[in-house]
């Protein structure tokens, strides 16, 4: 453009000079462009190098992210407790809780999307037992806290559908008992402090929390199905007789394993509240009772073993009350002038049993009771064990006589179960245990009675159920044998006639005893269902009669009408009427 406006005379020089100038400009521009390209390329290369270096560093030297071992991740916070078949009874479980977090939405606005009253109403629709006004106040107060400690997954889904970010449901490791209140007295519970309380949770606390041992579940001796049947039937017996409480135990006679142990009313270990904590007391191992006539077979067995009773047909007077040191021992009604031993057991005669105990003597009865562990706390793992009320010193005549029919001595139902196990298993007493015993590893125990005495007692116990007071426990085909016991509870100024403890102690099958079943009802009343009667024959014996057919097949005892213990040598001794 400059060239065109210039004068013709100056054209050549101007043009040449202009060309040179243009060329140098172009060169400069090109150089600049090249430099720029070079810089950009350098920058890229640098970035790429840096990236490569970083990758290399990461690949070579970077520590792996804190990695949790798979075994550690799967290790429960607290070990499981399972029954003898591996059914879980207690497990660590990541349950949902409902937590209110007012800060979830952030900012200075209200903590909830919807008004608090609406959210509270929606929550009450999910949890009908909640108090709406209380809930509204809590939501409006905007203080963080638990709304509920444990919710079901489907409830969590429904809360999620409300669209409130402030309602969080964190998964928390909790102790969970899938069977609810079943076997609660055996299991116990885990408190907010993470420590086990009451039952095996307390006993196994160390083992269940130690990382080296909590991976393997602790196996108990109980069988869930048997426990369920026992609790079910005891609960029914308790309802029918309007009793204050009930207790039951099923014991393996050869190993001392506890198959089921129930104390009713029970509590729910998933939710310990005031109503539940009142029922934590264990009637089977902690409460001592005068168990009454169910002690008679023990005294008779001691007499047979000592050679005091050698003739089953020998008759004892039974229609005159015994007067010993100012006390009078009498029967509920007269069974005739005299009774022999089988008849005395069938009719549950205090007078005859007391006479036999008198002949046996206090020292020998005392020794038998000691051998059965009646003078010490029951042998079981559970922490709550009651101390028996045991007559101190040398037993006087009257003490010996009253103990023989279960008065003046108070023991737990577990004591009675262990004693009956020894009576029918051949005479060997073994401590009860709640841990599963491997085959061949049963405790050695100690011999209390001769095997011959045990064999005779099987016959006598079977007779009582076949012909005597225990007839309602006679489950067809299961060859049940046992003894009733209805003891008046001691109160202020003597025994209270209106409050009884009704017990039925049984074992089955009598031709080869495998299990002892004890059912006890605390203060049963006479109702229409028990024909207006309060004694064990009408309330505790039917419980055993219903439990045995339910548990027998589960425990490998098949009902069989063609088998029974041979009682043909005793049968002729039984009078057809109420004694003679």
């Amino acid at each position: 453009m400059i060239a065109l406006t210039a004068s013709p005379s100056a054209i050549s020089t101007v043009i040449s000079a202009g060309r040179t100038e243009l060329a140098s400009v172009r060169q400069r521009l090109l150089l600049t462009a090249k430099w720029r390209v070079l810089w950009v390329a350098c920058a890229f290369v640098l970035v790429a190098l840096a990236a490569l270096l970083r990758i290399g560093l990461l690949g070579l030297f970077e520590q792996a992210p804190i990695r949790q071992d798979m075994a550690a991740a799967l290790l429960p916070v607290r070990g499981d407790i399972v029954d003898r078949n591996g059914v879980p009874l207690a497990r660590a479980f990541p349950a949902y809780a409902l937590w209110y977090n007012p800060a979830a939405l952030g900012g200075d606005g209200p903590p909830l999307v919807h008004p608090a009253s609406e959210v509270a109403a929606a929550l009450v629709r999910i949890f009908p037992e909640e108090n709406q006004a209380e809930l509204t106040a809590r939501l409006a107060s905007a203080r963080p806290g638990y709304l509920r400690r444990r919710i079901l997954p489907e409830d969590a889904n429904r809360i999620h559908a409300l669209g409130e970010p402030a309602l969080e449901f964190p998964r928390e490791n909790e102790r969970f008992y899938p069977q609810g209140s079943m076997a609660s007295h055996i299991l116990g519970f885990v408190g907010a402090d993470g420590m086990g309380h009451v039952g095996m949770e307390q006993v196994f606390n160390q083992r269940l929390t130690d990382p080296s041992t909590r991976g393997t579940p602790a196996m108990l001796s109980i069988d869930t199905r048997v426990q369920g049947a026992l609790e079910d039937e005891l609960g029914r017996g308790m309802l029918e007789s309007n009793a204050k409480g009930a207790a039951g135990i099923i014991l393996d006679v050869d190993t001392g394993e506890v198959l089921a142990l129930a104390s009713l009313p029970s509590f729910n270990p998933n939710l310990i509240d005031t109503a539940g904590s009142a029922n934590i007391f264990n009637r089977v191992t902690n409460q001592v009772y005068e168990l009454g006539s169910s002690f008679k077979p023990i005294a008779i067995a001691a007499a047979i073993d000592a050679g005091v009773v050698t003739d089953m047909g020998k008759r004892y007077q039974s229609n005159r009350p015994l007067n010993v040191s100012g006390f009078e021992i009498h029967d509920s009604h007269s069974f005739g002038a005299s009774l022999n031993v089988p008849e005395a057991l069938i009719h549950s005669s205090n007078i005859v049993t007391a006479q036999i105990a008198d002949q046996l003597g206090g020292a020998r009865l005392n020794a038998t009771m000691r051998a059965l562990g009646m003078n010490e706390r029951p042998y079981i793992e559970l922490p709550a064990k009651g101390f028996p009320l045991w007559p101190k010193g040398d037993w006087s005549r009257i003490t010996t006589m009253t103990v023989s029919y279960g008065h003046g001595i108070a023991v737990t139902p577990l004591h009675l179960a262990s004693a009956y196990a020894a009576m029918v298993n051949g005479g060997i007493w073994r401590p009860a245990t709640l841990e599963k015993v491997k085959p061949g590893h049963a405790a050695a125990g100690r011999r209390v009675w001769k095997a011959s005495t045990s064999a005779r007692m099987r016959q006598l116990l079977r007779l009582i159920v076949d012909l005597g007071t225990g007839r309602k426990a006679n489950a067809p085909g299961f060859r049940v044998g046992g003894k009733t016991g209805s003891a008046e509870k001691p109160g202020a100024g003597g025994y209270r006639k209106s409050s009884l403890v009704a017990t039925f102690a049984a074992a089955f099958p009598m031709d080869h005893p495998r299990y002892v079943v004890i059912a006890m009802l605390d203060e049963p009343q006479g109702t229409a269902a028990t024909s207006g009667q309060r004694t064990a024959a009408w309330n505790a014996a039917p419980v055993v009669g219903r439990v045995v057919p339910r548990i027998g097949p589960l425990l490998g005892v098949m009902p069989d009408d063609t088998r029974d213990v041979d009682i043909s040598d005793l049968a002729p001794l039984i009078g057809s009427g109420d004694g003679e």
């Binding site: 792996a64 479980f93 990541p94 997954p153 969970f176 069977q179 098949m558 009902p559 009408d561």
Partner: protein, 172 residues
């Protein structure tokens, strides 16, 4: 020349070293990649196991003894089996099929369901002579000696047990 050879050798070494380093690097990356895959798989296993535990526990809770008892009370009403419902051994089972001796008591029938023959879907066997429905012993008596034994196409145990072939009484 020497200089070029030396240079070549050193270049060769350098290339060799670089290639080796590249391989080591690649291998390290590969190992780390596999390791992280294993970690992921482990994490997945843990999640699945926990999920299984969760579901198992939920199942145990819904099917606990008390629930099952309630369900049985309301829906089924099953009761513990009685001694008549047990067979002790094969011998006892075989005894059920034995022909009945003269004057023997009626056989014990097990697992018998009354009224099943009406609903079994099979036509009842009819006597060709009288046109009457044959049940039990009458049917057994009808089986002619020496003829082919046709297997019973009856579905219930009662019919099968009652279709026992007997020796004819009286003179041979």
């Amino acid at each position: 020349m020497n200089l070029t050879q030396d240079r070549l050798r050193s270049v060769g070494w350098a290339v060799c070293l670089t290639v080796c380093a590249a391989f080591v690097l690649a291998l390290t990356f590969r190992v780390n990649a596999v390791k992280s895959q294993v970690r992921l798989a482990e994490r997945q296993i843990v999640t699945l196991r926990q999920e299984r535990l969760f579901l198992e526990t939920e199942f145990e809770t819904r099917a606990n003894q008390q629930q099952l008892k309630t369900l049985n009370d309301v829906e089924f009403g099953y009761q513990a089996p009685t001694s008549g419902q047990y067979l002790e051994n094969e011998r006892q089972l075989a005894a059920l099929g034995k022909p009945r001796g003269a004057g023997a008591p009626a056989p014990i029938r097990v697992a018998s369901v009354a009224g099943l023959e009406e609903d079994s879907g099979f036509p009842a066997m009819v006597s060709p002579l009288t046109g009457k429905v044959l049940i039990g012993e009458a049917a057994a008596a009808e089986v002619p000696r020496g003829s082919a034994r046709v297997p019973a196409n009856s579905s219930d145990l009662r019919d099968r047990l009652s279709r026992v072939e007997r020796r004819e009484q009286g003179p041979e």
